[in-house]
Point group: C2
Chain length 282, copies 2
């Protein structure tokens, strides 16, 4: 529908993973005219099917110019970025002017970094929008996704995990946790979800965790005060694969606050792996 | 001093690691007459230098009988145990009588399990004592251990880590965390300290964590409401080695609440690795 005259333009910064393109498509289906800003080294080349530009993260001047040339006001950020170190940014003049401000952002957690980046865009006159605004159909619904339901025990584990993630929120860390039989097994920090679930798989395989059969729930939720326009947590088929290898019983997602990439394939993979997936009211 | 007539007997349950023997020696130096209960499969054979008995964890009847035969009232638990699964315990009749109670203890975190075990001993008339009571000289002092001091930045990271561990306390998890430049890098759960520090080393080596030079502090503290008579956190030369491989700047320990095994070698290893170690007021 990008040919509709009334379609409002929208810049979508795309990092790694498959779902940025899905977000671009969904936004287009919702009547927007997407312009993709592909982050070199992170973003898939599939974005080239849309109007786009490739940039390094540090090319702040080039990015602002490209957006202003197209009279774009709304900007969204989707997909994983390898957290850059300040010293690795390839600064253009637009970034150099803001260097002291940018340097400050690199002291602290990811949320602080992203909120700071969003602030720089907003002070430049842009409006930062979230996936929940441009592609709400991609978020986890409340209730079961797929064929299986959570047992009362597993639901209790999910509640422990959700409470733990809430307690960690002030520390700008922790979007994922695994709880099994009321015991906290693994907490995600800089290693990311995939590595955390691989760790649980290793603990099971090495018999350091000696459960009989499937055990445990992977709980994913944003930080309580996290700006959902930025860095919304996301799951996909790979998450199901990792949960299966970790011999979990299921996955619990904060409804309306976690992106589910390729929902149909995700749901089918969960069913085939014998895992429940449930969206809980955050 | 075990030959002194007035030396009070004391049973010390010894799990894995080198420091249980150190605790036995320190208790003896403090005027106690130790009787060592070695857990088969965990405890070092060095305990055979002391009056001792070897047991499986499930041999509750044998353990109680051995202690009562020697008129022992005080019991201490030291060293790491591989957390057993209920189904793996080798039950004798003394355990079978208490099986429903024992089974309940296996639902939840390690602290719940240990508190439950201590409760069983106490109801049998024993008094559970902690390392801080029988060998206080082995605990981390307040202030620097070794030659180096923490920079203000590193001290700030240590405070963030201590606050995070306090926030996790209600969940019966988390005695260790790594914080670097105000960012939470890794949180310990079922994998244990060594695996958590190895993970940080991997994140540095793979450049997923892209700091320049040494960065970060490992913070270790007991859970806020943890019974220190049971499962007191412990560090040793291996901790320093792991912290060095993780390219940290130092280690912060809750003073009076963390055991430091082989203090002299520990302090020397920290100096050689260029790491600070500091005890903070918990």
């Amino acid at each position: 529908m990008s040919e509709r005259a009334e379609a409002r333009p929208l810049a979508i910064f795309c990092g790694g993973g498959g779902f940025p393109v899905e977000v671009v498509r969904a936004a287009q289906a919702n009547g927007r005219a997407p312009f993709v800003v592909g982050v070199i080294g992170s973003c898939d080349s599939a974005i080239e099917a849309f109007p786009h530009v490739w940039v390094h993260i540090g090319q702040v001047g080039k990015i602002f110019a490209a957006l202003k040339d197209r009279a774009i006001v709304d900007v969204a950020f989707v997909g994983a970025l390898t957290r850059p170190e300040f010293a690795d940014l390839r600064f253009d003049w637009g970034a150099v002017k803001r260097a002291p401000e940018l340097a400050q952002l690199f002291r602290g957690g990811d949320n602080r970094l992203l909120v700071g980046v969003a602030g720089i865009f907003e002070r430049e006159g842009f409006r930062v929008v979230g996936v929940h605004e441009i592609a709400p159909q991609l978020l986890a619904p409340a209730g079961p996704i797929g064929a299986r339901a959570a047992s009362p025990d597993a639901a209790a584990d999910a509640r422990v995990g959700a409470a733990l993630l809430a307690a960690l929120s002030p520390f700008d860390v922790g979007q994922g946790v695994v709880v099994a039989n009321a015991r906290v097994i693994a907490i995600e920090a800089a290693e990311g979800t995939d590595a955390m679930l691989a760790r649980v798989a290793d603990l099971r395989a090495s018999r350091r965790l000696r459960f009989q059969g499937p055990a445990g729930v992977f709980v994913k939720a944003p930080k309580r005060d996290q700006d959902l326009r930025l860095d919304m947590p996301a799951v996909g088929v790979k998450t199901i694969e990792a949960a299966r290898r970790a011999q979990l019983r299921g996955v619990a997602l904060a409804a309306g606050q976690v992106l589910v990439a390729d929902r149909q394939a995700f749901s089918r993979a969960a069913d085939e792996a014998g895992l429940f997936v449930v969206g809980f009211a955050p």
